[in-house]
């Protein structure tokens, strides 16, 4: 007889998800399914729309990281225009994309994950949130708020609107950078840099305390996928696709945008709206891979900025070959924050950064455009086709949470096997399942449940679909 345990909904990840754990006849967890019910219908919604609207439409549809969708979408549109956009426009898009990565990583690390790290995974759920952190370590909470603000301000000052900036457009950006904004961002860098290093040091010092989590949090061999620059350096805006295996060996490298489908296949399962991308040469589901900060640090040869490269050296010590524990997404995120701050400074000091030549104008010159960039949570692919008038005919999107779909279920299974024992569901188990998912940082809807507890329900079904047990957790 097999039974099903359902955890629904998750707390403190962004949005709403549902997990079912399937028990085998021996009472052990035999399968874990991570259900995603978002991301549906957008293909129909965009059909027939002028492609110039796409960046803003996509930013609205996936509201968690709008800037990343603006970037990937605008890059796909550049290909539809068949233009090479001005250097300054590329730099400005890069700048906003990095602002988004810094703010998103700060949100994940401080608001969503630090309660577990600081207060313990089994501490009272009522206080295991950012307010609990504020009470215990006000300095840390304040750092988190300030760092996130820094990233948000970069976006806001550039785009003049924080949440849905329509500043990134097909062919470039809609307005140049002013000296005043450049100087304002530069002035904010020293504080952000201090916070980033302070947090990194604290995290590394406390790594010892999470030995158990490191061992059991999605710690399994898999492939990793990310963009790398021309010299194998960390890259979030442009670059080519690279896959490495669990030993850190390159298995595919230098893959161009147009060829992404030769390495990435997409499987469909009836129980999830999210598709299941896999590494094509290995097949489904064995071709499971991970994307995001952990993957990016695993695929790159070096980072390319001095402070972050120093941290990368320590990061590499965490594994032989690739770093495999999903717990180290946290580590990787902090390294990327340090890199992001260095990069922002570098870009702002580009002598051409104030150029007013920031947009290429053209009509539809190609029928298909593919835009690929790195979002905070991982690789983002926008693949558009249009008719000769420039109206959308089709869109395919592969988002970070999709790439990680197989690995996330795998990570949940690993934790559940260890913390679930038959019908015995302890609070600590629930928290760890949640924490694994949070480590992957999936983007599930527009809401962020950073504070407080949402009700959680676990249902236990037997093989005939009858509910035999149920556990509720009130907010």
């Amino acid at each position: 007889m097999s039974r099903t345990i359902t955890i629904d909904p998750l707390t403190r990840i962004e949005g709403h998800a549902r997990i079912t754990l399937h028990l085998g006849p021996d009472g052990q967890v035999s399968d874990a399914l991570f259900h995603v019910t978002q991301f549906r219908g957008f293909e129909k919604f965009v059909e027939g729309r002028p492609f110039h609207e796409m960046p803003s439409i996509m930013a609205r549809i996936c509201g968690i990281c709008p800037v990343s969708h603006l970037v990937a979408s605008a890059k796909a549109c550049d290909e539809l225009l068949a233009v090479r956009i001005p250097h300054t426009a590329i730099q400005l898009r890069r700048l906003m994309n990095i602002g988004q990565i810094v703010q998103s990583h700060a949100l994940n690390f401080f608001h969503l994950s630090s309660p577990d790290l600081l207060l313990g995974f089994d501490s009272d759920p009522a206080t295991r949130n950012i307010f609990g952190v504020l009470a215990k370590r006000p300095d840390l909470a304040r750092d988190g708020i300030r760092l996130r603000q820094f990233g948000q301000q970069v976006i806001e000052w550039l785009g003049k609107e924080r949440i849905h900036p329509a500043w990134i457009v097909a062919g470039g950006v809609s307005s140049p950078l002013t000296a005043a904004v450049r100087d304002r961002i530069l002035a904010a860098i020293p504080e952000a840099r201090q916070i980033a290093h302070r947090t990194m040091d604290w995290f590394k010092r406390s790594l010892e305390n999470y030995r158990e989590e490191t061992r059991t949090f999605g710690n399994f061999p898999s492939l990793f996928l990310g963009l790398v620059g021309p010299d194998g350096e960390l890259e979030h805006y442009d670059g080519r696709l690279r896959f490495v295996d669990a030993t850190g060996e390159k298995v595919a490298d230098g893959i161009e945008n147009a060829d992404y489908a030769s390495v990435i296949g997409e499987a469909v399962e009836p129980w999830s709206y999210l598709k299941f991308p896999y590494y094509k040469p290995t097949g489904y589901p064995e071709g499971m891979y991970r994307v995001g900060p952990l993957a990016r640090l695993n695929v790159c040869d070096r980072i390319g900025t001095p402070e972050a490269d120093a941290e990368l050296a320590e990061f590499r010590e965490l594994g032989r070959g690739a770093v495999l524990s999903s717990f180290h997404y946290h580590f990787a995120r902090l390294v990327e924050v340090i890199y992001g701050i260095e990069m922002i400074e570098q870009i702002l000091n580009d002598p051409e950064i104030l150029s007013t030549h920031v947009r290429a104008e053209a009509g539809p010159n190609a029928r298909r455009g593919i835009g690929i960039s790195e979002a905070p949570r991982g690789l983002l692919i926008h693949d558009y086709t249009i008719d000769e008038q420039g109206l959308m005919r089709g869109a395919n999107l592969i988002i970070a949470t999709g790439h990680n779909n197989l690995a996330m279920s795998r990570g949940i299974l690993q934790v559940a096997r260890r913390y679930v024992d038959g019908n015995n569901l302890k609070e600590g188990m629930l928290n760890r399942v949640e924490a694994v998912i949070r480590a992957f940082d999936p983007c599930l809807s527009c809401s962020t449940h950073a504070a407080g507890k949402m009700p959680m329900r676990i249902e236990l079904f037997d093989a005939d679909g009858r509910k035999v047990n149920e556990v509720m957790r009130q907010p």
Partner: protein
């Protein structure tokens, strides 16, 4: 008929919102109100084009009359007492906007005219924060066959400004209205692709007068479509001068 540069006829005196005002007998309530800085919301009206009284947004109350009259096509009369801003009118105007919003697909957040749209700003100033009638969600196409412009029927409110500017100012009469009721649509020529139109001169006047994002310049990203309408009164003035 607007505008009339040298209004002829007798002078009439009347009250608008309790104020004593006067105008020539061939002038409309809307014109007199504007001359006196009394604001009446409008949509289908555009200075420089003939008025048709289609949108019913400019309705006003007239003492002694049970029904409401459109200010843009109602001539002033001696002793008239006009009210332009009563609760009844505000309710009525909100309803007009709600019906317009529900009829097609006005998705402001992803519209090229976001932030520069007359329908959107009227909804804001009239306090429409909820649409009480069910949305129709019709499936409507975008015609992007023209080299420079596009028409997105999802955003059209059938004000016919485009039809009138094309006919009365440009003299091309490319645009017209086909169908009745909810089936009504603006069409180019005999319902052909705009790009295939033999009459369109590509002057772009229709795009500039369109109050929403229905007519747009191709290549605009969301929120980038701003319209220039200053040319219209100039054009009409200059033409009057030539007569």
């Amino acid at each position: 008929m607007t505008p009339v540069p040298i209004p002829a006829g007798r002078v009439k005196t009347l009250k608008i919102d309790g104020r004593d005002v006067s105008g020539y007998e061939n002038q409309t309530i809307l014109e007199i109100a504007r001359e006196n800085n009394i604001h009446i919301p409008t949509l289908c009206n555009l200075e420089g084009l003939d008025d048709i009284g289609a949108c019913r947004l400019c309705l006003v109350e007239i003492k002694g009359l049970a029904r409401l009259l459109p200010a843009c096509v109602t001539r002033v009369q001696e002793g008239m007492e006009v009210l332009t801003d009563t609760e009844r009118l505000r309710r009525h105007r909100r309803m007009v906007i709600e019906l317009l919003l529900s009829e097609r697909n006005h998705v402001c957040a992803v519209c090229v005219s976001n932030g520069h749209c007359e329908l959107q700003s009227l909804a804001q100033t009239l306090g429409v924060n909820h649409v009480h009638v069910p949305y129709r969600y019709p499936r409507m196409a975008v015609d992007a066959t023209h080299g420079r412009f596009g028409v997105d029927h999802n955003r059209c409110i059938l004000c016919t400004r485009c039809v009138r500017v094309c006919d009365q100012i440009e003299g091309a009469h490319t645009w017209d209205v086909a169908g009745r009721g909810v089936e009504a649509m603006i069409i180019s020529d005999l319902k052909q692709d705009w790009g295939a139109s033999a009459t369109c001169t590509s002057c772009g006047k229709c795009v500039q007068v369109c109050p929403t994002g229905a007519l747009f310049v191709k290549g605009k990203a969301v929120g980038e479509m701003t319209k220039q309408r200053e040319f219209l009164p100039y054009l009409t003035l200059m033409r009057e001068g030539e007569k």
